[in-house]
């Protein structure tokens, strides 16, 4: 199993990593080794094995719909690189947002 440079460049873009040409060479080689190692699992016959959604054999964990104290705004913002006392500040983003 080997990955192409293009595969790695795309993964880098999705992860917002700036990869140089040299980085791409290194990452393509190293990621291919990792994927190759994991792909050994494909040798196992899983015909009769049900897909696993979660490693724990536990289901239906809920909490009641009862409000709990939130943080104060100052606490919420304290680790932000930049804020104005009310909101987190980030470089201007334009375009679509929100849940899709």
């Amino acid at each position: 199993m080997s990955l192409s440079r293009n595969d790695v460049a795309k993964v880098g873009l999705l992860a917002r990593l700036a990869l140089s040409e040299t980085d791409l060479d290194t990452m393509t080689r190293e990621l291919s080794t990792i994927v190759g190692f994991v792909s050994q699992l494909e040798q196992i016959d899983t015909t009769d094995v049900a897909p696993l959604a979660h490693p724990l054999d536990t289901q239906n964990v809920f909490r009641a719909d009862i409000p709990q104290p939130s943080l104060t705004t100052a606490q919420a913002l304290q680790s932000a690189p930049r804020h104005d006392g009310e909101c987190f500040l980030v470089p201007a983003v334009l375009g679509d947002s929100g849940a899709n």
């Binding site: 719909d65 983003v93 679509d96 947002s97 849940a99």
Partner: protein, 495 residues
């Protein structure tokens, strides 16, 4: 370019909708932060919804149950086993770098919602592909006029429970899409799933639209699908779809471009300008690399749980319309008008109809007097000062012949304006029932003064008696016109 479609469009408009509704919970989906609308920025946040390291989500039971209630009301199959997945993308209003959503095993699928138009024009069954439960993102605010170049992020909304409802592309006109959304909203409000307040962002709609254009040789050309976003009202949805179908037809005539040859385009609705505009296409954004959310365990829904949820659900509007029409013997149109005003108004009507004993009379009063004045005043029917007992009292006196309907309307208006009882208003307006002796005296005077009318009636023209009613009302505003007419005719016969 014109946004007005021709009367007989040379194409079929094919529409599917994606609706996000905020579930009516007190707290967020995965943490105990409140979901109160309008709170100061970043006052309803905690380590979990801020996505801080080491925090873990725990599912809100009420959110899950409300989502199941919505899905059941939409006739969906409820999956016996469901799980959540991470949808990965980078955006500043998404602090974890992923949204917890549902990918391959949504909790429900394969439902339908019918729009029933009492006039028949917009009746259609629309299939529901799936309903799933996910969390909302935060809110980004960019004030270009401030000139700071910063975007401000408020995460109060991050983690709010949303139900996503996806329809099949079964709608065939912008008007139908709007009617269907109205029905969906009514259903969700009736069942207490969501308040569906679009101004507060509790209901958001995206629309997928393309055209099927018959060509020579019976082939159907399909235009590329466009997803429209940014519509802030159902009216905007209708306008955007009207505009977009006309735009696609013009584009097709110019380019003959068909579906599948170009990637799906996203366009934003510019409401003031009344146009859709292409949004920047981010090629990489479609790769969300979903994988199962390891921090949440799956949910299994037992038959007992489903039965209990069904039990607690109450009647959906479609069932209520039929029940109301059958119980009170009112036309489907009346039942539709009443049910569309919400559960509280239906309760008011049923109280009134039971007191009056005649559904149609009660329904007429609801539509002509109660609803009209309620709309003028604003507010809810529960706060409407004239209660069903008072309206029934007024209607009862009309039935007894104390006064006619137009006089009754004045009394209703006065009870509403003054806050006094019907008895007090009737007394203060000098409205006293006219007894038969008074009526006979009055009618004799009228006949003596109008020999021409008497002659006409004797000559077979009974309708001439109508001319006496106006004069009778002038002499005594409390007389009942029907009684005046009957009495005059009787007296003429005895002559």
């Amino acid at each position: 370019m014109t946004a007005t479609p021709t009367a007989a469009a040379p194409f079929t408009t094919v529409i599917g909708l994606e609706v996000h509704v905020q579930l009516q919970t007190r707290t967020k989906l995965f943490c105990g932060c409140a979901t109160t609308f309008g709170a100061a920025p970043n006052t309803q946040v905690c380590p979990t919804c801020l996505g801080l390291p080491g925090s873990l989500p725990v599912m809100n039971r009420t959110a899950f149950e409300l989502a199941v209630r919505a899905a059941l009301a939409l006739g969906c199959q409820i999956a016996p086993f469901t799980k959540w997945d991470r949808k990965n993308y980078f955006y500043p209003d998404l602090p974890k770098g992923y949204q917890i959503s549902q990918f391959d095993l949504p909790f429900s699928s394969q439902g339908a919602l019918e729009v029933v138009d009492p006039k028949g024009a917009l009746t259609r069954n629309v299939r529901i592909t799936r309903v799933h439960l996910e969390e909302d993102a935060g809110k980004s605010m960019h004030d270009e006029t401030a000139g700071t170049g910063d975007t401000r992020i408020d995460l109060n909304r991050a983690g709010t429970p949303l139900c996503e409802i996806v329809s099949e592309p079964d709608l065939r006109s912008p008007q139908e899409a709007r009617a269907w959304l109205n029905e969906l909203k009514l259903l969700l409000v009736y069942l207490g799933v969501s308040d569906c307040n679009m101004q507060e962002g509790s209901l958001r709609v995206d629309a997928n639209v393309n055209l099927h254009i018959p060509c020579d040789g019976g082939r159907i050309a399909k235009t590329p699908i466009v997803e429209i976003k940014n519509m802030n009202s159902f009216r905007s949805v209708e306008r955007a779809l009207v505009y977009e179908s006309a735009r696609q037809y013009e584009e097709w005539q110019a380019t003959k471009a068909e579906m599948g040859k170009t990637p799906k385009q996203t366009r934003g609705w510019d409401d003031p300008a009344g146009v859709t505009r292409a949004q920047r296409h981010k090629e990489e954004s479609s790769d969300y690399r979903y994988f199962p959310e390891p921090d949440l365990v799956p949910v299994t829904v037992s038959e007992e749980w489903l039965a209990a949820t069904r039990e607690a659900m109450g009647d959906p509007p479609s069932v209520l319309r039929e029940a109301l029409a059958a119980t009170w013997k009112i036309p489907p149109y009346d039942a539709d008008v009443l049910v569309n005003q919400g559960r509280e108004l239906v309760a008011y009507f049923e109280d009134l109809a039971a007191r009056v004993g005649e559904g149609k009379v009660a329904s007429n009063w609801m539509q002509q007097d109660v609803l009209r004045t309620l709309n003028e005043r604003g507010g809810s029917i529960d706060d409407f000062p004239v209660r069903p007992a008072a309206v029934a009292d007024i209607i009862g006196r009309v039935a007894k012949g104390d006064f006619d309907t137009s006089r009754a309307r004045e009394i209703f208006a006065e009870v509403l304006a003054s806050g006094r009882t019907v008895d007090e208003v009737v007394a203060s307006m000098g409205i006293a029932a006219v007894d038969d002796d008074e009526l006979i005296t009055l009618c004799r005077e009228l006949l003596a003064a109008n020999p021409r009318v008497v002659a006409d009636v004797q000559g077979g023209k009974e309708q001439a008696a109508a001319g006496l009613i106006g004069q009778a009302k002038k002499k005594n505003p409390n007389v009942n016109p029907g009684k005046v007419r009957a009495m005059c005719l009787e007296l003429i016969r005895q002559m």
